[in-house]
């Protein structure tokens, strides 16, 4: 499951990786990473997704070599690098605050990795300019980092890392400091660049949408552990834990009482809001659809979609997301308090383990 079919040696393997930090002022030790196993294949775009404090950065720092694991191993192309210094690892990092050297120009920043590896001057200039062109920053080489916008700095950081042609590029919330518009634009560009250079990307974010749009695979972190690994569609459509169901997308849960009445099976189920539709008066459900009578509690108009919160007669309330194809805000206003019937295909209700969360 965590290793795609046909893969040779993974570029990165984490084996039972653990990290504890000493508690502050003699307090209890913090277990930041608690037994993580993961294989990442050549050329993959893997995203580590999880809430603040779930251990994503710590995992990244252990792969880069800034943090020594308390247990377990880090392998790069099969070689154990658990105790290898950062500068001896074929891995580069794009830091969240970019960490550009303020006393060097853009070009000197990008050249830095080649310079310390004693690549001849002419050659390293050529490669640095090439890398800058790759991130669309031609003509900026003489500027100081302080004279660039956030998005441009982000690209310099990317070029500075990519110029070394590492096996793996680690990115710690590289888009976190950008505004929404620029962020969306950079998501597309980053993905494009990754496809062009063919380097494995390990990307950290706590933004589920970013994870869903960019990744080949998503690794969902929950309190230092991996809850689920899978493609964006797998994670979104078939969350395996309550945590994943809630963190990725809207949590829409049916508990035992409601699920027994509606699905004939007592347990915890998750149904995504856009899989649920409202049946029109007198409309019959199609075969295989579950029908749930309900009362509308809340209607929220959001431009492209309308979100409807409905309390089921069988208990629990569900969010329904409806495309505003024909309706407008006027039509939905009168819905509050109305009796409706919700319907969804049986396969869109994913069973979650009862005992977690």
């Amino acid at each position: 499951m965590s290793q795609p079919a046909g893969a040779t040696t993974p570029v990165v393997s984490l084996r039972g990786l653990r990290k504890e930090f000493p508690g502050v002022g003699g307090g209890a030790r913090v277990v930041a990473v608690d037994g993580v196993d993961l294989d990442i294949a050549e050329g993959e775009f893997v995203t580590l997704l999880g809430p603040s404090g779930s251990g994503k950065t710590t995992v990244l720092r252990m792969i880069a070599g800034f943090e020594t694991p308390s247990g377990g191993q880090v392998l790069l192309r099969g070689a154990d690098v658990t105790r290898t210094a950062p500068f001896e690892r074929d891995v580069n990092t794009v830091f969240q605050d970019y960490a550009l050297f303020p006393h060097m120009t853009v070009l000197q920043n990008v050249e830095y990795g080649l310079r310390v590896k004693k690549v001849p001057r002419v050659q390293r200039r050529e490669r640095a300019l090439e890398a800058l062109a790759g991130v669309r920053l031609e003509g900026m080489e003489k500027r100081a980092p302080g004279q660039l916008s956030g998005g441009q700095r982000q690209r310099v950081a990317l070029a500075r890392a990519l110029v070394n042609r590492p096996s793996v590029l680690l990115l710690d919330e590289p888009l976190g400091a950008l505004d929404l518009k620029l962020r969306e634009q950079m998501q597309v560009e980053l993905k494009q660049i990754q496809r062009e250079v063919g380097i494995t990307f390990v990307f950290v974010t706590h933004d589920q949408e970013e994870a869903l749009t960019m990744s080949d695979r998503i690794v969902v972190f929950n309190r230092g552990r991996v809850d689920q690994v899978g493609s964006p569609a797998e994670i979104y459509e078939h969350p395996r834990t309550t945590f994943v169901a809630g963190f990725v997308g809207t949590s829409n849960l049916l508990h035992a009482k409601a699920s027994e009445a509606l699905l004939g099976e007592a347990g915890l189920f998750s149904v995504r809001p856009e899989k649920i539709r409202l049946l029109a008066d007198g409309e019959d459900p199609v075969t295989g659809e579950t029908v749930a009578p309900a009362v509308v509690e809340e209607v929220v108009y959001a431009g492209a979609t309308t979100r409807i919160v409905a309390r089921l007669d069988a208990g629990d309330s569900l969010v329904v997301q409806r495309q505003n194809q024909r309706t407008s805000s006027l039509d939905t206003e009168g819905l509050r308090g109305a009796r409706v019937r919700l319907a969804w295909s049986r396969e869109h209700a994913s069973r979650l383990p009862d005992d977690d969360g």
């Binding site: 070599g65 950062p86 960490a99 310390v116």
Partner: protein
């Protein structure tokens, strides 16, 4: 905070009064160094540069100036090395007793010079170390280290370790990281700390008295020794004026340097 007009006036007067107490005597010294009257009658009876040329050719003063510069340079160099190493150890590593050591490094600046002087003097004689040039350098280094330490520590705390991590991540060895990233970041702080250390050492007298040998004289000690000899008075005055200028310049430069530095000097 809003103050009444009266309070504001009082505050202003107090400020000017305070500044006057400090700077008027310095100004008098400067003016008198060009005053032809040997007894410094006021107002000055004319303008002369003869005291300056006499001072410049006075062998005792020249010797003392040279000694002072040498001691200040040596103490500053020692302070730069030890002070920045201590700052590194405190800012970048966690170890047992770190806070205590940090406190002990800063303490000498607060200790009365006379205490430091007596302590060093007895330590040197107990250890059988003859007083001389080097003992003065060590004595001055005790407080010079503090200003370097404080400047470097403030800078290290402010820059954090991310740049150094970025450098290591790009393949730089520990030495390369220090040369290309850490040192350039610290240059301003080292310069500011060094200038202040130089100024502190240059006009120090108390610790010097206790650590210097009989044959050696720094400039402040030379002034002190010649202050009450009537026919040396004009020359002493010139040397004092020169000393004022020589200490103001490095302090002014250091202040300018550490403005964008965030780090206070002490």
């Amino acid at each position: 905070m809003t103050l009444s007009a009266r309070a504001r006036l009082l505050l202003r007067l107090a400020t000017f009064g305070g500044l006057a107490v400090i700077y008027v005597p310095l100004l008098v010294v400067l003016v008198n160094s060009f005053n032809p009257s040997k007894t410094f009658g006021w107002p000055p009876s004319g303008f002369t540069t003869q005291w300056w040329s006499r001072a410049a050719s006075n062998p005792g003063a020249r010797e003392a100036l040279l000694t002072s510069v040498e001691i200040a340079l040596a103490a500053t160099a020692l302070a730069l090395v030890l002070g920045s190493m201590a700052a590194f150890a405190v800012a970048r590593y966690r170890w047992f007793g770190r806070e205590t050591v940090s406190f002990l490094v800063v303490l000498p600046i607060a200790l009365p010079g006379i205490v430091t002087g007596i302590a060093l003097n007895s330590a040197f004689s107990a250890g059988g170390v003859a007083l001389g040039f080097l003992t003065v350098v060590v004595g001055h280094a005790t407080f010079c280290i503090v200003v370097v330490y404080n400047n470097v520590l403030a800078r290290l705390r402010r820059t954090g370790t991310t740049l150094e991590e970025a450098s290591a991540d790009l393949g730089a060895s520990t030495l390369q990281t220090f040369l290309h990233v850490t040192f350039p970041q610290l240059r301003g702080a080292l310069l500011a700390g060094g200038l202040l250390a130089f100024a502190l050492s240059f006009d120090e007298i108390v610790v010097t008295q206790f650590t210097i040998s009989a044959g050696l004289q720094t400039l402040p000690i030379w002034i002190f020794a010649n202050l009450f000899r009537p026919n040396q008075a004009p020359v002493v005055n010139v040397v004092a004026a020169a000393l004022v200028v020589a200490s103001v310049i490095p302090v002014y430069l250091a202040n300018r340097l550490s403005e964008g530095n965030g780090g206070g000097r002490l």
